[in-house]
Symmetry: C2
Subunit: 234 residues, 2 copies
């Protein structure tokens, strides 16, 4: 979650296009979607996505992250052991390159969306990634948390964001599902995130994905000067 901000939810997609596994015969305008692990070289794109998310949440003034602060605090541990980012890429052609992380740590997830119309992406050049017309469309940032009751770890999803022109196509669900799949693969007990109480569409969407909303809990946050005071022996 950004500042006092929501991870913009994957918008409910009642008219979402059919999403089929890679290799199926595409119809209409196919959009190939791939989820892969982020690399340090993705930081400029990640930084732009975070700022777009802040603008979307009308909290741009609270967003002080820089490429430098992200570079120095992310990618400090192997994937899944601490802060981890999945990048969502899209392409009108099948992916011909091999992601750097296509190894034993994570096998990228590829799906094909059959669209009725092609997508006009006004920021295609800014978010170009790799060869061909591969474009970064979104990301999810998550990290391990721990349940003492279960006696095992889980994942906490801090942010999930899909760029405007790629919304309502099931891509947010694809990102969240990728985290859930990884949690199951690792034997973890939970996946958790937060939602704004007035965002009924998002809550409905999450409940349809199988999540429960814990209505009685409130987040407490110690930050800024109030936190710094504890460094002086408060």
């Amino acid at each position: 979650m950004a500042a006092a901000a929501p991870p913009p939810p994957p918008t409910p997609a009642p008219t979402a296009p059919t999403m089929v596994p890679e290799g199926s015969t595409p119809v209409g305008y196919p959009l190939f979607a791939r989820i892969r692990l982020a690399h340090p070289s993705d930081v400029p794109h990640i930084h732009k996505l975070i700022h777009q998310m802040a603008v979307f949440e009308r909290l741009a003034n609270m967003c002080t992250a820089t490429e430098s602060s992200l570079s120095s605090t992310l990618f400090t541990s192997p994937p899944f052991q601490s802060f981890t980012i999945f990048i969502l890429e899209v392409s009108s052609q099948p992916f011909s390159d091999t992601p750097l992380d296509q190894n034993t740590i994570y096998t990228p997830d590829v799906q094909v969306l059959n669209l009725d119309l092609p997508i006009e992406d006004p920021e295609k050049e800014i978010f170009r990634s790799g060869i061909g017309d591969v474009t970064v469309a979104g990301f999810v940032l998550f990290f391990p948390n721990y349940s003492t009751f279960l006696g095992k770890p889980g994942f906490y999803v801090e942010d999930l964001f899909v760029r405007d022109c790629y919304r309502r196509k099931g891509l947010g669900r694809m990102l969240l599902s990728a985290v859930a799949k990884q949690a199951v693969k690792m034997g973890y007990g939970r996946v958790e995130w937060v939602v704004l109480d007035w965002n009924v569409n998002a809550i409905k969407f999450y409940e349809e994905m199988g999540a429960k909303v814990l209505s009685e809990w409130r987040i407490c946050r110690l930050t800024g000067e109030a936190l710094q005071a504890y460094g002086n022996g408060n």
Copy 2:
């Protein structure tokens, strides 16, 4: 946070005894309190504390943690890099032993409480720790989280528990402050935790400590069979 359970808050302590730094001249019945890093050898005590917490929260049926599940999932990373536990010990005498972790990673925090009456601990033998009458009185479990808006990590406090006979003496505040101090020391941006919305005493206490309660946010949780379904390609 345990299951759907609260980290039992440090109870507001309007009549809390004076807490003074180690080395001050004790008056009345002194209780020496020390916070140190947990070790794998603390797991039996940690397991008992977690189950006492579950009983306190009336959620004992949801607590499936065992010594084995805790041992295999905790202590897998260096302290502060992932799941981290501080143990709270008390003693009627100054601590004469040196904790195993009294090194560069964490310097134990010692305070002295001047009590009007000595504390009767009916479980003193069960929670005996080290030499003399050193007794485990509580714990806090926390781990790094991440703010994309700040572009830096913080700490999330999953559980904070003080055994019944040691409550209302400022020891919960001492545990939470220890996490806040460590966050400041590491240059982290936040400390966060959750509280039940009806627990007005705890909310008041946290606000007095400088925390803000984020009233609009709700936690979403995907667990159990709903989570497992994602492992099958849902």
